[in-house]
Symmetry: C2
Subunit: 376 residues, 2 copies
Amino acid sequence: MKSDLQSSTARPPRELCPVAYQDFVSSEPFHLELGGVLPGLTLRYETYGTLLPDKSNAVLVPHALSGDHHVAGKYTPQDVKSGWWDVFVGPGKAIDTDRFFVIGINCIGGCRGSTGPLSIDPRTGQPFGGFFPEITLSDIVRAQRLVIQHLGIKKLHAVVGGSMGGMQSLLWCADYPADVGRIAILAAGLSQSPMAIALNAVSRACVESDPNYRGGHYKPGEGPDTGLSVGRMLAHISYLSSAAFDQKFGRVRVDGAKPGEPVYWQVESYLHHQGAAFVKRFDANSWLRITRAVDRFDLTARAAAGKLFQPNGPDVLAVSFSSDWLYPVNEMRMLVAAATAVGVNATYHEVITDAGHDGFLLPDTGLSVRLHAFLG
Amino acid sequence: MKSDLQSSTARPPRELCPVAYQDFVSSEPFHLELGGVLPGLTLRYETYGTLLPDKSNAVLVPHALSGDHHVAGKYTPQDVKSGWWDVFVGPGKAIDTDRFFVIGINCIGGCRGSTGPLSIDPRTGQPFGGFFPEITLSDIVRAQRLVIQHLGIKKLHAVVGGSMGGMQSLLWCADYPADVGRIAILAAGLSQSPMAIALNAVSRACVESDPNYRGGHYKPGEGPDTGLSVGRMLAHISYLSSAAFDQKFGRVRVDGAKPGEPVYWQVESYLHHQGAAFVKRFDANSWLRITRAVDRFDLTARAAAGKLFQPNGPDVLAVSFSSDWLYPVNEMRMLVAAATAVGVNATYHEVITDAGHDGFLLPDTGLSVRLHAFLG
């Protein structure tokens, strides 16, 4: 894939390969915002590029709901897929790993290496499973900060995140304004809207109504795959736009499908495929914990009280995507207005695209140029 | 409830009570568009008002996906609810039953009295259940026409429908243009869009993945209630708008709910309630048959070929609702452009509302005045 920046840069982009993950491990109890305690923490992370001796060039890229620490590059040349934001992160790319030290960290509550429901609870010797406590995005960010401190980084050059990652950018600004120079928020808003909660609620109901869910107390490999798959199908719809559905699938039928068959339309086939692929890499209890954490995200009161953006706080780049109906453009405009009102250097940009919410993942929207300029 | 028309009318609206349904029964085989055959037909219908001796004042109101023949009035004064469009249909209302003879008919494939999956297949003595054949909206309209002919009506004064009912209005225009004087299409379009198909597909996946579904071959009372409930929760989201969710629910929590409980947000509680209420009155096999029929709806090719609207065909009133993201306004504009292009007397009106797709069910949007004027 080529980013829109690449045609205007002198250095052709090169592939990050091999990359490798590392684990940060702490045996200290980690106290959660809602009252739970994790007896210890493992945080899986990857880095790309070289940290300068003064450690001033670190860029954290928090991931979205179903993402992970594998932001860019390949583990081996044989890997079919690169990291989830490889289009933007790499040598010569918008977030240029020839200049920046880029960090991806799997969030707590996740299922890709960091402490989450699949992890062993050392107190019982069993996976946390349904007993994994409730988390917030503030918890996720506070845990990230342990890795940043572990790396000896006192101040991040930037935090750049899309969707749930953008919410984390905002929480860095809210909770640790002195620790970050600039934040980019892509395809997110000041809060999770009631309709976005509704969509997550139905997605959770799909999981919770699967008989294999058993209140979260399923055995590994015997979980509510069907419910999680259907829940993911729904979530996937919200990441696209009506125009994107028109362009990708139209009203085209599956070859040979007969009326009444469960998979009749191309779009139906695509969604079933997405759902089936998702359950191979995601855990249902993680899905519930993380969607609930996202639903709790609400910085509107703090923004109104002047406790989110402050004159000496991080610079802000907010980018919306015109056809994103999950996090509509007006929420981001309000966010930038709130930042600007208190003297923050804040910029709003609306990408005109039919791609919907997933627009932040795609090349050729003009986002690369904006991000590159913002990072300085 | 008061409609916006009522303040400007000389006759105060009166309640239709009691109303009663009737059954049209045919023992003739009914051949379906996709090849199936129903060995006979029962069509449950209701009428309100008085048919003129020349039978010129009949207005058919086809229902939406989950509606039925009970359009207006109450069966007994003790009924808590009136028919689903009572705000618009009754003496002194927009569709004035002092002047018009209004007809509501439960669609075939439904579960409210007309021949559908819950009906007994006379060939087996058992309910059709999962063996009920696939239907189309054209089949539904063709069956309606049998009732209209049974009532001795040669030409309907009007067909007025919202959502799936609006698609049926269009099919009357397409298939029987000489049989109807005018059609009103509310909150619909020329076709079911790929994203609308996607939403129905996930809703169906909810049903089909419920272990009680058994390929449709469940016993009455032992059906996939959980899956149908969750599928309906999803559908319900698509009937509202983000602004409507903000206004109705905001980010308000259920009193006393603890983080991690399955029903934590007011909006979550509302959706669960809607789902649970729905399964008490609807059959899962009907849901599958009717959503698939809606997904098949596509008159774009016929419109382009000049075989939908014709110069001497019915007058057209098309009404969109500004926040309806299921059937967006641009589709209706195209529809009216197609009608106007061939000389049809066609009017487009956009109701500015936060109510979303369900706007056509609500009073006080200005729709009453438009409908009243259109019916003449």
